[in-house]
Protein backbone atom coordinates (compact mmCIF):
# COMPACT_ATOMS: atom_id res chain seq x y z
CA UNK A 1 0.00 0.00 0.00
CA UNK A 2 2.70 2.43 1.09
CA UNK A 3 4.83 1.73 -1.93
CA UNK A 4 2.01 2.16 -4.43
CA UNK A 5 0.88 5.39 -2.80
CA UNK A 6 4.49 6.64 -2.93
CA UNK A 7 4.55 5.83 -6.64
CA UNK A 8 1.24 7.60 -7.07
CA UNK A 9 2.55 10.70 -5.30
CA UNK A 10 5.66 10.92 -7.44
CA UNK A 11 3.96 10.15 -10.76
CA UNK A 12 0.45 11.55 -10.64
CA UNK A 13 0.29 14.15 -7.92
CA UNK A 14 0.95 16.90 -10.44
CA UNK A 15 -2.27 16.08 -12.31
CA UNK A 16 -4.29 16.33 -9.11
CA UNK A 17 -2.89 19.82 -8.67
CA UNK A 18 -3.04 20.99 -12.28
CA UNK A 19 -6.58 19.85 -13.10
CA UNK A 20 -8.25 21.69 -10.16
CA UNK A 21 -6.16 24.78 -10.95
CA UNK A 22 -7.36 24.84 -14.56
CA UNK A 23 -10.96 24.20 -13.52
CA UNK A 24 -10.77 26.93 -10.89
CA UNK A 25 -9.32 29.35 -13.46
CA UNK A 26 -12.26 28.77 -15.82
CA UNK A 27 -14.81 28.95 -12.98
CA UNK A 28 -13.50 32.28 -11.73
CA UNK A 29 -12.77 33.90 -15.13
CA UNK A 30 -14.08 33.81 -18.70
CA UNK A 31 -11.88 32.50 -21.53
CA UNK A 32 -11.35 35.93 -23.10
CA UNK A 33 -10.46 37.38 -19.65
CA UNK A 34 -7.88 34.64 -19.21
CA UNK A 35 -6.32 35.26 -22.62
CA UNK A 36 -6.14 39.04 -22.14
CA UNK A 37 -4.88 38.52 -18.59
CA UNK A 38 -2.16 36.13 -19.73
CA UNK A 39 -1.01 38.65 -22.33
CA UNK A 40 -0.84 41.34 -19.62
CA UNK A 41 1.11 39.03 -17.31
CA UNK A 42 3.58 38.04 -20.01
CA UNK A 43 4.15 41.63 -21.11
CA UNK A 44 4.60 43.18 -17.67
CA UNK A 45 8.06 43.60 -16.19
CA UNK A 46 7.10 41.85 -12.94
CA UNK A 47 9.40 43.98 -10.80
CA UNK A 48 8.80 43.61 -7.08
CA UNK A 49 6.07 43.84 -5.90
CA UNK A 50 3.80 42.78 -8.78
CA UNK A 51 0.98 40.43 -7.88
CA UNK A 52 -0.12 38.73 -11.11
CA UNK A 53 -3.67 38.53 -9.78
CA UNK A 54 -3.69 42.34 -9.88
CA UNK A 55 -2.13 42.40 -13.37
CA UNK A 56 -4.05 39.72 -15.24
CA UNK A 57 -6.77 38.47 -12.90
CA UNK A 58 -7.10 35.24 -10.96
CA UNK A 59 -7.90 33.03 -13.99
CA UNK A 60 -4.85 34.07 -16.00
CA UNK A 61 -2.65 33.79 -12.92
CA UNK A 62 -3.79 30.22 -12.27
CA UNK A 63 -3.12 29.32 -15.91
CA UNK A 64 0.37 30.85 -15.61
CA UNK A 65 0.92 28.73 -12.51
CA UNK A 66 -0.31 25.65 -14.39
CA UNK A 67 2.08 26.29 -17.29
CA UNK A 68 5.00 26.64 -14.88
CA UNK A 69 4.05 23.41 -13.09
CA UNK A 70 3.76 21.47 -16.38
CA UNK A 71 7.06 22.85 -17.69
CA UNK A 72 8.91 21.85 -14.52
CA UNK A 73 7.23 18.46 -14.26
CA UNK A 74 8.08 17.57 -17.86
CA UNK A 75 11.67 18.76 -17.39
CA UNK A 76 12.15 16.78 -14.17
CA UNK A 77 10.62 13.64 -15.73
CA UNK A 78 12.71 13.98 -18.91
CA UNK A 79 15.88 14.32 -16.85
CA UNK A 80 14.82 11.30 -14.74
CA UNK A 81 15.28 13.19 -11.51
CA UNK A 82 13.70 11.74 -8.40
CA UNK A 83 11.94 14.03 -5.94
CA UNK A 84 14.23 14.84 -3.03
CA UNK A 85 14.03 17.70 -0.56
CA UNK A 86 15.84 20.17 -2.78
CA UNK A 87 13.61 19.43 -5.77
CA UNK A 88 10.47 19.85 -3.66
CA UNK A 89 11.81 23.20 -2.45
CA UNK A 90 12.70 24.33 -5.97
CA UNK A 91 9.39 23.32 -7.55
CA UNK A 92 7.21 24.75 -4.76
CA UNK A 93 9.18 28.00 -4.91
CA UNK A 94 8.74 28.20 -8.68
CA UNK A 95 5.02 27.57 -8.39
CA UNK A 96 4.65 30.16 -5.63
CA UNK A 97 6.45 32.81 -7.63
CA UNK A 98 4.34 32.06 -10.69
CA UNK A 99 1.75 34.12 -8.76
CA UNK A 100 4.26 36.88 -8.38
CA UNK A 101 6.82 37.52 -11.14
CA UNK A 102 7.69 34.30 -12.99
CA UNK A 103 6.47 33.42 -16.47
CA UNK A 104 7.68 30.93 -19.04
CA UNK A 105 9.12 33.81 -21.09
CA UNK A 106 11.38 35.04 -18.32
CA UNK A 107 12.40 31.64 -16.96
CA UNK A 108 13.39 29.71 -20.12
CA UNK A 109 16.42 31.92 -20.99
CA UNK A 110 17.78 31.34 -17.48
CA UNK A 111 17.38 27.58 -17.85
CA UNK A 112 19.19 27.83 -21.19
CA UNK A 113 22.06 29.68 -19.53
CA UNK A 114 22.42 27.00 -16.85
CA UNK A 115 22.23 24.35 -19.60
CA UNK A 116 25.07 26.03 -21.52
CA UNK A 117 27.13 26.12 -18.34
CA UNK A 118 26.56 22.38 -17.93
CA UNK A 119 27.93 21.88 -21.46
CA UNK A 120 30.90 24.11 -20.70
CA UNK A 121 31.70 22.34 -17.43
CA UNK A 122 31.04 18.88 -18.95
CA UNK A 123 28.61 17.99 -16.18
CA UNK A 124 25.15 16.61 -16.87
CA UNK A 125 22.44 19.30 -16.81
CA UNK A 126 20.40 17.32 -14.27
CA UNK A 127 23.14 17.94 -11.73
CA UNK A 128 22.48 21.68 -11.99
CA UNK A 129 18.70 21.40 -11.80
CA UNK A 130 18.48 22.94 -8.32
CA UNK A 131 20.41 25.99 -9.43
CA UNK A 132 18.28 26.19 -12.59
CA UNK A 133 15.02 26.09 -10.63
CA UNK A 134 16.05 28.85 -8.25
CA UNK A 135 17.77 30.95 -10.92
CA UNK A 136 14.34 31.93 -12.21
CA UNK A 137 14.02 34.30 -9.27
CA UNK A 138 15.65 36.94 -11.44
CA UNK A 139 12.98 36.55 -14.13
CA UNK A 140 11.81 40.18 -13.82
CA UNK A 141 15.21 41.35 -15.09
CA UNK A 142 14.54 39.56 -18.38
CA UNK A 143 10.94 40.78 -18.60
CA UNK A 144 12.02 44.32 -17.75
CA UNK A 145 14.63 44.37 -20.53
CA UNK A 146 12.08 42.91 -22.96
CA UNK A 147 9.08 45.05 -22.11
CA UNK A 148 9.99 47.71 -19.57
CA UNK A 149 12.98 49.63 -20.92
CA UNK A 150 11.14 51.13 -23.88
CA UNK A 151 13.27 49.67 -26.69
CA UNK A 152 11.75 48.30 -29.91
CA UNK A 153 10.59 44.72 -29.36
CA UNK A 154 12.70 43.31 -32.22
CA UNK A 155 15.73 44.49 -30.26
CA UNK A 156 14.56 44.23 -26.66
CA UNK A 157 13.33 40.61 -26.82
CA UNK A 158 16.63 39.15 -28.13
CA UNK A 159 18.50 41.37 -25.67
CA UNK A 160 16.38 40.06 -22.79
CA UNK A 161 16.97 36.47 -23.89
CA UNK A 162 20.71 37.12 -24.19
CA UNK A 163 20.94 38.68 -20.72
CA UNK A 164 18.93 35.76 -19.28
CA UNK A 165 21.30 33.25 -20.84
CA UNK A 166 24.39 35.11 -19.60
CA UNK A 167 23.02 35.41 -16.06
CA UNK A 168 21.97 31.73 -16.07
CA UNK A 169 25.44 30.73 -17.26
CA UNK A 170 27.20 32.33 -14.30
CA UNK A 171 24.75 31.54 -11.50
CA UNK A 172 26.27 28.19 -10.54
CA UNK A 173 29.72 29.68 -9.99
CA UNK A 174 28.43 32.74 -8.16
CA UNK A 175 26.05 30.79 -5.94
CA UNK A 176 28.83 28.51 -4.70
CA UNK A 177 30.83 31.57 -3.78
CA UNK A 178 27.85 33.10 -1.97
CA UNK A 179 27.57 29.98 0.20
CA UNK A 180 30.92 30.78 1.76
CA UNK A 181 29.68 34.16 2.98
CA UNK A 182 26.73 32.90 5.01
CA UNK A 183 28.00 29.30 5.44
CA UNK A 184 24.67 27.72 4.63
CA UNK A 185 22.64 29.64 7.21
CA UNK A 186 20.57 31.42 4.54
CA UNK A 187 18.33 28.81 2.93
CA UNK A 188 17.68 31.12 -0.04
CA UNK A 189 21.29 31.10 -1.14
CA UNK A 190 20.45 31.67 -4.79
CA UNK A 191 18.21 34.57 -3.76
CA UNK A 192 21.29 36.14 -2.21
CA UNK A 193 23.31 35.46 -5.36
CA UNK A 194 20.60 36.87 -7.60
CA UNK A 195 20.38 39.97 -5.42
CA UNK A 196 24.05 40.69 -6.05
CA UNK A 197 23.56 40.24 -9.81
CA UNK A 198 20.43 42.42 -9.68
CA UNK A 199 22.40 45.08 -7.82
CA UNK A 200 24.85 45.34 -10.73
CA UNK A 201 22.03 45.65 -13.28
CA UNK A 202 20.24 48.20 -11.09
CA UNK A 203 23.40 50.29 -11.05
CA UNK A 204 23.67 50.04 -14.84
CA UNK A 205 20.04 51.08 -15.37
CA UNK A 206 20.42 53.98 -12.96
CA UNK A 207 23.56 55.21 -14.74
CA UNK A 208 21.61 55.05 -18.00
CA UNK A 209 18.74 57.01 -16.38
CA UNK A 210 16.30 54.17 -17.03
CA UNK A 211 13.43 54.40 -14.57
CA UNK A 212 12.79 51.12 -12.73
CA UNK A 213 9.16 51.98 -11.95
CA UNK A 214 9.18 49.92 -8.79
CA UNK A 215 5.66 49.89 -7.44
CA UNK A 216 3.31 47.80 -5.38
CA UNK A 217 0.51 46.04 -7.23
CA UNK A 218 -1.47 43.61 -5.13
CA UNK A 219 -4.97 42.16 -5.15
CA UNK A 220 -6.43 40.88 -1.88
CA UNK A 221 -9.84 39.91 -3.32
CA UNK A 222 -9.17 36.17 -3.35
CA UNK A 223 -7.97 35.77 0.23
CA UNK A 224 -10.45 33.05 1.19
CA UNK A 225 -10.11 31.17 -2.12
CA UNK A 226 -6.36 30.98 -1.64
CA UNK A 227 -6.68 30.27 2.08
CA UNK A 228 -8.97 27.32 1.31
CA UNK A 229 -6.59 26.08 -1.39
CA UNK A 230 -3.65 26.00 1.04
CA UNK A 231 -5.74 24.43 3.75
CA UNK A 232 -6.71 21.60 1.38
CA UNK A 233 -3.08 21.17 0.22
CA UNK A 234 -1.81 21.11 3.82
CA UNK A 235 -4.41 18.59 4.96
CA UNK A 236 -3.73 16.48 1.86
CA UNK A 237 -0.01 16.42 2.72
CA UNK A 238 -0.64 15.46 6.35
CA UNK A 239 -3.09 12.68 5.38
CA UNK A 240 -0.63 11.44 2.72
CA UNK A 241 2.11 11.23 5.35
CA UNK A 242 -0.08 8.99 7.51
CA UNK A 243 -1.06 6.82 4.52
CA UNK A 244 2.62 6.33 3.70
CA UNK A 245 3.55 5.52 7.28
CA UNK A 246 1.10 5.13 10.15
CA UNK A 247 3.89 5.63 12.68
CA UNK A 248 5.08 8.86 11.07
CA UNK A 249 4.25 11.02 14.09
CA UNK A 250 6.69 9.02 16.25
CA UNK A 251 9.47 9.72 13.76
CA UNK A 252 8.73 13.43 13.45
CA UNK A 253 10.72 14.58 16.55
CA UNK A 254 13.89 13.35 14.82
CA UNK A 255 13.35 15.94 12.09
CA UNK A 256 12.85 18.72 14.65
CA UNK A 257 16.35 18.06 15.98
CA UNK A 258 17.97 18.92 12.65
CA UNK A 259 19.56 22.36 12.41
CA UNK A 260 18.25 22.81 8.86
CA UNK A 261 21.50 24.31 7.67
CA UNK A 262 22.15 23.92 3.94
CA UNK A 263 22.22 21.26 2.63
CA UNK A 264 19.69 19.37 4.81
CA UNK A 265 17.46 17.07 2.81
CA UNK A 266 14.66 15.89 5.09
CA UNK A 267 13.43 13.34 2.53
CA UNK A 268 16.78 11.61 2.65
CA UNK A 269 17.68 12.16 6.28
CA UNK A 270 14.30 11.11 7.66
CA UNK A 271 11.83 9.74 5.11
CA UNK A 272 9.35 10.94 2.49
CA UNK A 273 6.46 10.54 4.94
CA UNK A 274 8.15 12.57 7.69
CA UNK A 275 9.12 15.30 5.20
CA UNK A 276 5.57 15.47 3.82
CA UNK A 277 4.13 15.65 7.34
CA UNK A 278 6.47 18.56 8.03
CA UNK A 279 5.32 20.28 4.84
CA UNK A 280 1.68 19.91 5.81
CA UNK A 281 2.29 21.18 9.34
CA UNK A 282 4.26 24.14 8.01
CA UNK A 283 1.34 24.93 5.72
CA UNK A 284 -1.04 25.00 8.70
CA UNK A 285 1.49 27.11 10.61
CA UNK A 286 1.71 29.62 7.72
CA UNK A 287 -2.08 29.85 7.49
CA UNK A 288 -2.26 30.40 11.25
CA UNK A 289 0.11 33.33 10.84
CA UNK A 290 -2.22 34.92 8.28
CA UNK A 291 -5.12 34.61 10.75
CA UNK A 292 -3.24 35.79 13.84
CA UNK A 293 -1.56 38.73 12.09
CA UNK A 294 -4.59 39.51 9.90
CA UNK A 295 -2.55 39.20 6.70
CA UNK A 296 -4.52 39.06 3.46
CA UNK A 297 -3.37 36.34 1.07
CA UNK A 298 -2.45 37.72 -2.37
CA UNK A 299 0.03 36.59 -5.01
CA UNK A 300 3.04 37.71 -2.97
CA UNK A 301 1.87 35.96 0.19
CA UNK A 302 1.11 32.81 -1.85
CA UNK A 303 4.79 32.81 -2.84
CA UNK A 304 5.75 33.14 0.82
CA UNK A 305 3.54 30.26 1.92
CA UNK A 306 4.58 28.02 -1.01
CA UNK A 307 8.23 28.65 -0.22
CA UNK A 308 7.65 27.72 3.43
CA UNK A 309 5.96 24.51 2.26
CA UNK A 310 8.71 23.64 -0.22
CA UNK A 311 11.57 24.32 2.15
CA UNK A 312 9.84 22.21 4.78
CA UNK A 313 11.54 19.35 2.97
CA UNK A 314 14.86 21.16 2.78
CA UNK A 315 15.72 22.79 6.11
CA UNK A 316 12.67 24.42 7.69
CA UNK A 317 10.60 22.97 10.49
CA UNK A 318 8.29 24.26 13.18
CA UNK A 319 11.00 24.74 15.81
CA UNK A 320 13.72 26.48 13.81
CA UNK A 321 11.24 28.64 11.88
CA UNK A 322 9.13 29.83 14.80
CA UNK A 323 11.78 31.93 16.50
CA UNK A 324 13.10 33.83 13.48
CA UNK A 325 9.47 34.67 12.68
CA UNK A 326 8.96 35.82 16.29
CA UNK A 327 11.99 38.09 15.88
CA UNK A 328 10.50 39.53 12.70
CA UNK A 329 7.10 40.08 14.35
CA UNK A 330 8.80 41.74 17.31
CA UNK A 331 10.57 44.16 14.96
CA UNK A 332 7.36 44.97 13.14
CA UNK A 333 5.56 45.78 16.41
CA UNK A 334 8.44 47.81 17.86
CA UNK A 335 8.74 49.92 14.71
CA UNK A 336 4.97 50.08 14.29
CA UNK A 337 4.91 48.64 10.76
CA UNK A 338 2.31 45.96 11.23
CA UNK A 339 2.11 43.13 8.67
CA UNK A 340 -1.60 43.75 8.07
CA UNK A 341 -0.83 47.32 6.93
CA UNK A 342 2.46 46.86 5.08
CA UNK A 343 2.89 44.26 2.32
CA UNK A 344 6.71 44.31 2.48
CA UNK A 345 6.58 43.50 6.19
CA UNK A 346 3.90 40.85 5.62
CA UNK A 347 6.05 39.15 2.96
CA UNK A 348 9.05 39.38 5.28
CA UNK A 349 7.20 37.52 8.05
CA UNK A 350 7.07 34.41 5.83
CA UNK A 351 10.41 34.70 4.06
CA UNK A 352 12.41 35.46 7.20
CA UNK A 353 12.25 31.69 7.66
CA UNK A 354 15.28 31.59 5.32
CA UNK A 355 17.27 32.16 8.51
CA UNK A 356 15.73 29.19 10.34
CA UNK A 357 19.06 27.26 10.53
CA UNK A 358 20.40 29.97 12.85
CA UNK A 359 17.86 28.92 15.49
CA UNK A 360 18.63 25.29 14.70
CA UNK A 361 22.35 25.74 15.32
CA UNK A 362 22.65 28.57 17.83
CA UNK A 363 19.36 28.52 19.72
CA UNK A 364 16.21 30.52 20.33
CA UNK A 365 17.75 33.90 21.24
CA UNK A 366 20.02 33.79 18.20
CA UNK A 367 17.00 33.05 16.00
CA UNK A 368 15.02 35.96 17.42
CA UNK A 369 17.96 38.35 16.93
CA UNK A 370 18.44 37.18 13.33
CA UNK A 371 14.73 37.56 12.55
CA UNK A 372 14.70 41.02 14.09
CA UNK A 373 17.74 42.17 12.10
CA UNK A 374 16.27 40.76 8.91
CA UNK A 375 13.33 43.13 9.10
CA UNK A 376 15.70 46.09 9.48
CA UNK A 377 17.80 45.14 6.45
CA UNK A 378 14.86 44.16 4.22
CA UNK A 379 13.82 47.63 2.91
CA UNK A 380 17.43 48.52 2.09
CA UNK A 381 17.90 45.27 0.18
CA UNK A 382 14.95 46.14 -2.02
CA UNK A 383 16.46 49.52 -2.84
CA UNK A 384 19.83 47.97 -3.69
CA UNK A 385 18.54 45.33 -6.07
CA UNK A 386 15.84 47.41 -7.76
CA UNK A 387 13.13 44.76 -7.55
CA UNK A 388 14.70 42.40 -10.12
CA UNK A 389 15.37 39.66 -7.59
CA UNK A 390 12.08 38.09 -6.58
CA UNK A 391 13.88 36.52 -3.63
CA UNK A 392 14.54 39.90 -2.03
CA UNK A 393 14.31 38.30 1.39
CA UNK A 394 16.99 35.82 0.39
CA UNK A 395 19.19 38.76 -0.53
CA UNK A 396 18.57 40.44 2.84
CA UNK A 397 18.93 37.16 4.75
CA UNK A 398 22.33 36.59 3.13
CA UNK A 399 23.65 39.82 4.63
CA UNK A 400 22.12 39.12 8.03
CA UNK A 401 23.55 35.59 8.17
CA UNK A 402 26.97 36.79 7.00
CA UNK A 403 27.08 39.21 9.92
CA UNK A 404 25.51 37.24 12.77
CA UNK A 405 26.85 33.74 12.10
CA UNK A 406 30.56 34.53 12.69
CA UNK A 407 29.57 36.39 15.88
CA UNK A 408 27.38 33.55 17.19
CA UNK A 409 30.06 31.06 16.23
CA UNK A 410 32.71 32.85 18.23
CA UNK A 411 30.72 33.97 21.25
CA UNK A 412 28.08 31.29 21.63
CA UNK A 413 28.74 27.96 23.29
CA UNK A 414 25.68 26.36 21.73
CA UNK A 415 27.31 25.55 18.42
CA UNK A 416 30.33 24.00 20.10
CA UNK A 417 28.10 22.00 22.43
CA UNK A 418 26.03 20.80 19.51
CA UNK A 419 29.13 19.62 17.70
CA UNK A 420 30.35 17.69 20.70
CA UNK A 421 26.96 16.25 21.48
CA UNK A 422 26.51 15.05 17.96
CA UNK A 423 23.50 17.23 17.20
Amino acid sequence: MALSYKKFLSNYLVFFIVIPLVLLAFILSRVNEILVGLKDIYLCSGLLITDFIAVGGIGATLINVTLIIIFNYVLIKCLKISFNGAIFAGVFTMVGFAFFGKTLINTIPLFLGVYLYSLYSKVEFKNYIIVALFSTGIGPLISFIMFGVGLELYFSIPLGIFVGIVVGFFIQVLSLNALRLHRGYNLYNIGFTLGIIAMIFTAIFRVLNISLNANILINNSYHWHLFSMFLIVSIFLIVSAFILDKAVIKKYPKLLKRTGRLVTDFVKETSLSVAILNMGLMGIFALSLTLILQININGAIVAGIMTMLGFASFGKHLYNTLFVILGAILASFIFNTLPKDNITVAIGIFFVSALAPITGQYGIIAGIIAGFMHMLVLPMAMDFQGGFDLFNNGFAAGFVASIVVPIFENFSLKGEQNAKAGV
Binding site: E124, L179, G184, R261, L262, V263
Partner: protein, 113 residues
Protein backbone atom coordinates in the same frame (compact mmCIF):
# COMPACT_ATOMS: atom_id res chain seq x y z
CA UNK B 1 38.11 16.43 -15.67
CA UNK B 2 35.89 19.15 -14.13
CA UNK B 3 37.96 21.90 -12.58
CA UNK B 4 36.14 21.67 -9.28
CA UNK B 5 37.07 18.05 -8.59
CA UNK B 6 40.43 18.87 -6.99
CA UNK B 7 38.81 21.35 -4.63
CA UNK B 8 36.09 18.87 -3.76
CA UNK B 9 38.67 16.24 -2.83
CA UNK B 10 40.58 18.77 -0.75
CA UNK B 11 37.38 19.67 1.08
CA UNK B 12 36.44 16.03 1.67
CA UNK B 13 39.79 15.28 3.31
CA UNK B 14 39.63 18.53 5.26
CA UNK B 15 36.15 17.65 6.60
CA UNK B 16 37.31 14.18 7.65
CA UNK B 17 40.35 15.57 9.45
CA UNK B 18 38.29 18.32 11.06
CA UNK B 19 35.80 15.77 12.33
CA UNK B 20 38.51 13.56 13.80
CA UNK B 21 40.22 16.48 15.57
CA UNK B 22 36.92 17.48 17.17
CA UNK B 23 36.61 13.95 18.57
CA UNK B 24 40.16 14.08 19.92
CA UNK B 25 41.63 11.66 17.39
CA UNK B 26 45.07 13.20 17.02
CA UNK B 27 46.86 10.31 15.38
CA UNK B 28 45.73 8.72 12.13
CA UNK B 29 46.93 7.93 8.61
CA UNK B 30 45.06 9.27 5.60
CA UNK B 31 46.00 8.03 2.15
CA UNK B 32 44.38 9.35 -1.03
CA UNK B 33 44.53 7.61 -4.41
CA UNK B 34 43.21 9.63 -7.31
CA UNK B 35 42.39 7.93 -10.61
CA UNK B 36 40.88 9.30 -13.81
CA UNK B 37 37.28 9.48 -12.65
CA UNK B 38 37.33 8.02 -9.17
CA UNK B 39 39.15 8.45 -5.91
CA UNK B 40 39.65 6.35 -2.81
CA UNK B 41 40.52 7.75 0.58
CA UNK B 42 41.89 5.28 3.12
CA UNK B 43 41.74 6.36 6.74
CA UNK B 44 43.48 4.28 9.40
CA UNK B 45 42.87 5.21 13.03
CA UNK B 46 44.86 3.36 15.70
CA UNK B 47 43.22 2.43 19.02
CA UNK B 48 39.77 3.32 17.74
CA UNK B 49 36.51 1.42 18.14
CA UNK B 50 33.79 0.98 15.55
CA UNK B 51 31.18 2.13 18.07
CA UNK B 52 32.80 5.55 18.43
CA UNK B 53 32.91 6.01 14.66
CA UNK B 54 29.41 4.67 14.08
CA UNK B 55 27.84 8.09 13.66
CA UNK B 56 30.36 9.06 11.00
CA UNK B 57 29.99 5.78 9.14
CA UNK B 58 26.18 5.92 9.23
CA UNK B 59 25.90 9.48 7.99
CA UNK B 60 28.56 9.24 5.31
CA UNK B 61 27.07 5.98 4.07
CA UNK B 62 23.79 7.72 3.07
CA UNK B 63 23.06 7.72 -0.66
CA UNK B 64 25.15 9.92 -2.86
CA UNK B 65 23.21 12.80 -4.38
CA UNK B 66 24.87 14.46 -7.35
CA UNK B 67 22.25 17.23 -7.73
CA UNK B 68 22.63 18.33 -4.14
CA UNK B 69 26.40 17.87 -4.40
CA UNK B 70 26.60 20.44 -7.18
CA UNK B 71 24.43 22.81 -5.17
CA UNK B 72 26.20 22.69 -1.84
CA UNK B 73 29.65 21.07 -1.95
CA UNK B 74 31.32 24.40 -1.24
CA UNK B 75 29.95 24.25 2.32
CA UNK B 76 32.00 21.22 3.24
CA UNK B 77 34.67 22.15 5.74
CA UNK B 78 32.97 25.46 6.64
CA UNK B 79 31.55 24.72 10.07
CA UNK B 80 32.96 21.56 11.58
CA UNK B 81 29.54 20.73 13.02
CA UNK B 82 27.96 17.35 12.58
CA UNK B 83 25.77 18.36 9.67
CA UNK B 84 28.99 18.29 7.66
CA UNK B 85 28.81 14.51 7.72
CA UNK B 86 25.58 14.53 5.71
CA UNK B 87 27.17 16.88 3.22
CA UNK B 88 30.12 14.56 3.02
CA UNK B 89 27.77 11.64 2.41
CA UNK B 90 26.42 13.36 -0.68
CA UNK B 91 29.88 13.21 -2.24
CA UNK B 92 30.82 9.69 -1.20
CA UNK B 93 29.59 6.58 -3.05
CA UNK B 94 30.29 4.10 -0.28
CA UNK B 95 32.36 3.44 2.81
CA UNK B 96 34.05 0.13 3.65
CA UNK B 97 35.05 -0.69 7.19
CA UNK B 98 37.82 -3.02 8.24
CA UNK B 99 38.46 -3.79 11.87
CA UNK B 100 42.11 -4.69 12.49
CA UNK B 101 43.66 -5.80 15.76
CA UNK B 102 44.99 -2.41 16.71
CA UNK B 103 43.17 -0.05 14.37
CA UNK B 104 40.11 0.69 12.29
CA UNK B 105 40.44 1.25 8.54
CA UNK B 106 37.76 3.18 6.69
CA UNK B 107 37.88 3.35 2.89
CA UNK B 108 35.81 6.07 1.22
CA UNK B 109 35.00 5.66 -2.48
CA UNK B 110 34.07 8.58 -4.69
CA UNK B 111 33.19 8.67 -8.37
CA UNK B 112 33.48 12.05 -10.05
CA UNK B 113 30.17 13.69 -11.11
Amino acid sequence: MPKQESRKLAKITSAIINYLFQRNYNKFDLKLNRFKDKTTIVLEIPDAKISTLKEMIDKVSKTKDSEVEMYGWELIGESGFNDELELLGMLIDKVEIEEKETSIVLTFYRTMV
